[in-house]
C-alpha cells in the first residue's frame, strides 16, 4: 500500500521544470532544450518576413526549475557564413522572461538563431534553425 502511494506520488509530482515560464501566450512558439536548460521563444510579429524587423519573446530556466539569464541573441546563415546586419538588444522582463529586440533577416534561406544563456557560472549556447521562404 505504501509502495503504491509512493509510486502515485512520483507520477503526480510535477517535474522541477514545470515552474519554467514556457507558456509565452497565444499557444505558439518553439521550445529548445539542452541537458541544463529549457527555453521557449516566440517571434513578434508571429510571422517573420524577409527584410522586416522583429523581436523574440523568450523564456528560459534550468532543467531543475532554477532561474537562468538570457545574455545574447544572434543569427547567421551557416551556408553563406554571414550574420545579420543588425544587432539584437536584450531586455529582462522578470521571472525568466526576456525580449530580444532588433532582429532582421535580410535574405530568404536557412537562418540559425543562437541564444546565449547562463545560470550561475555555467553558460551555454542554444540554437534553433528557421527556414525563411
Amino acid at each position: 500500500m505504501r509502495l503504491a502511494a509512493a509510486l502515485l506520488g512520483v507520477f503526480l509530482a510535477p517535474p522541477a521544470w514545470a515552474d519554467c515560464p514556457l507558456d509565452l501566450g497565444r499557444g505558439t512558439g518553439w521550445v529548445v532544450f539542452s541537458d541544463q536548460y529549457l527555453m521557449a521563444f516566440r517571434p513578434d510579429p508571429l510571422r517573420i518576413e524577409v527584410g522586416e524587423p522583429f523581436a523574440l519573446a523568450v523564456s528560459v530556466c534550468t532543467r531543475r526549475g532554477g532561474p537562468a539569464e538570457l545574455l545574447a541573441v544572434d543569427a547567421n546563415m551557416p551556408e553563406h557564413r554571414h550574420g545579420m546586419n543588425y544587432r539584437a538588444a536584450i531586455v529582462a522582463k522578470g521571472d525568466g522572461r526576456f525580449r530580444a529586440e532588433g532582429l532582421l533577416f535580410h535574405m530568404p534561406g536557412r537562418w540559425e538563431i543562437t541564444f546565449d544563456v547562463r545560470a550561475g557560472d555555467d553558460s551555454e549556447r542554444l540554437t534553433h534553425d528557421i527556414i525563411l521562404k
Binding site: 524577409v50 527584410g51 553563406h80 529586440e101 535580410h106
Partner: protein, 391 residues
C-alpha cells in the same frame, strides 16, 4: 466534302490550341509561388510616419514645386530635377552624377523610392527626407547652404503659402527646421513616384490565378528568363519582393577603387555618416513619437564586410534606365548579365557558399534574362503640370 471541311476546321482549331499551349512553359507550384512573391503591383501608397506631411496633398504639392526649384542651389541653376529627370526614369542617363563637379556614383532612379528603408547607394539616410537634405547641402552637388531653404520659404509668397498649407504655420526663423521641412515636402512628392504596371505583372497575376490563356501572352523568352531569375541563377535571393530588392546591401564584385589609392567604402562609410547625422531618425526631427520606425537605425551594426557593399537596386523600369551599377560602370543590361555570368570569384569575399558566383550563362540564357528584365518596363503615364500652390 463536308467531312473533309470539318476535318480541316478541327485540325486548324487543334493547331491553334497547340500554338497557344506552346506559349506557356510548365510552371511548378514552387515556381508559381516564387513568381507570386514579386507582386501584386502597385502596392498601397507609401506613408512615412517620421514625416508629418507624407501622403498629404499639401505636402506633395509643395514638394513638387521645391523639387523643380533651382533657387535651392548655391548658384541658382540646379534643382533636384536637374539630375532626377522625369523623362529619364528619374535619373539622368549618365554613368556618374554631375553636380557642381562630377561625382563617383551614378544618380539613382527615384522610382518606388518611398518604399525603401535605407536611402542612397550607401544607406547613409534612414528616411527619404533625411536623404533629401544631403544633396541640398553637399558642396559637390547643389551646394545650397544651411539657410537657403529658409530664406526662400520666407521670401517667396507662393512657397510661403504652400508651406503654411502643408505644415499649418507660416515659415519661421529657425533655418534648420525649415531645411528639414523642405526635405520633408520633397520626400512627400518623391514617395508618389510609383512605377506603372508592366507585362510581367499581367503574367504574374494570370499565373497565380491559374489563367493559362492570359499567362500565355507573356513572351517565351521572358518566361525562360524569369525561370532562371527565380531558379538556377538565384537572382531573387537579393532582388526579392514586388520591388525586386531586399533594400539591403551587397558586394557583387564591382571594383570600388574610385582613383588610384582611393576606394569608395560603400555601406561602411554610409553607416559612419548615418551615426553622425543630426537628421537621422534618432534625432529631434522624427515626427513619429512612438519610436517604432527607429528599430533599423538603433540596431544596425557596422561590420568590416560592409566595405564595398552597395544598396541592392529595385529592377522595375530597369531596361529604360542605365548605365548600371553604383558607379555606372556597365553601359547596358547585356553588360550586367555578362558581369554575373563571368564575375571573378577572386573579387567576391565569401567564405561559405557564395551569394554571387559566375553563372556561366549561354548566349541564349543571357538573352532570356534580358527579355525578362525588359518585361519589367512600361511607359509611365505623363504627369500633369502641378496646380498652383495657392490659387
Amino acid at each position: 466534302m463536308i467531312r473533309l471541311l470539318l476535318l480541316l476546321v478541327s485540325l486548324l482549331a487543334a493547331g491553334a490550341v497547340g500554338v497557344r499551349a506552346q506559349h506557356l512553359l510548365d510552371w511548378s507550384p514552387e515556381e508559381i509561388k516564387a513568381v507570386g512573391q514579386h507582386g501584386p503591383w502597385p502596392p498601397p501608397p507609401a506613408r512615412d510616419p517620421s514625416n508629418k506631411v507624407s501622403d498629404t496633398a499639401a505636402g506633395i504639392a509643395l514638394g513638387e514645386y521645391l523639387f523643380n526649384e533651382p533657387r535651392l542651389s548655391g548658384d541658382g541653376r540646379m534643382s533636384c530635377a536637374t539630375c532626377h529627370q522625369a523623362g529619364r526614369e528619374w535619373s539622368d542617363g549618365l554613368a556618374k552624377a554631375r553636380g557642381a563637379v562630377e561625382l563617383d556614383r551614378r544618380t539613382p532612379s527615384l522610382w518606388n523610392i518611398g518604399y525603401l528603408h535605407w536611402f542612397g547607394w550607401d544607406g547613409a539616410g534612414d528616411s527619404l527626407w533625411a536623404q533629401s537634405i544631403r544633396p541640398l547641402l553637399d558642396p559637390r552637388e547643389m551646394n545650397g547652404g544651411p539657410t537657403r531653404a529658409g530664406e526662400l520659404l520666407r521670401s517667396d509668397a507662393a512657397l510661403a503659402c504652400g508651406y503654411e498649407r502643408a505644415f499649418g504655420n507660416t515659415p519661421g526663423t529657425d533655418d534648420e527646421r525649415l531645411l528639414v521641412d523642405t526635405a520633408k515636402a520633397l520626400a512627400a512628392f518623391q514617395a508618389t513616384l510609383v512605377s506603372p504596371r508592366t507585362p510581367f505583372d499581367d503574367f504574374r497575376d494570370a499565373l497565380v490565378a491559374g489563367d493559362r490563356e492570359s499567362a500565355s501572352r507573356y513572351p517565351l523568352a521572358a518566361q525562360r528568363g524569369l525561370k532562371l531569375f527565380v531558379g538556377e541563377a538565384n537572382c531573387s535571393l537579393c532582388h526579392l519582393g514586388p520591388r525586386f530588392t531586399s533594400g539591403e546591401f551587397g558586394d557583387i564584385g564591382i571594383p570600388f577603387f574610385v582613383r588610384p589609392g582611393e576606394v569608395d567604402p560603400g555601406r561602411h562609410g554610409g553607416l559612419v555618416r548615418l551615426a553622425a547625422s543630426p537628421f537621422n531618425l534618432l534625432g529631434k526631427y522624427n515626427d513619429d513619437a512612438s519610436g517604432n520606425n527607429t528599430r533599423r537605425t538603433r540596431h544596425v551594426q557596422r561590420q568590416h564586410t560592409n566595405f564595398g557593399e552597395f544598396r541592392v537596386p529595385g529592377l522595375r523600369q530597369v531596361g529604360r534606365g542605365g548605365p548600371y551599377m553604383h558607379n555606372g560602370s556597365l553601359a547596358t543590361l547585356e553588360d550586367v548579365i555578362r558581369h554575373y555570368s563571368e564575375v571573378s570569384p577572386d573579387r567576391l569575399h565569401s567564405d561559405g557558399i557564395p551569394l554571387v558566383r559566375p553563372l556561366g550563362l549561354t548566349a541564349g540564357q543571357g538573352a532570356d534574362l534580358v527579355a525578362f528584365l525588359r518585361s519589367l518596363d512600361a511607359e509611365p503615364v505623363a504627369r500633369p503640370s502641378p496646380a498652383p500652390l495657392c490659387p
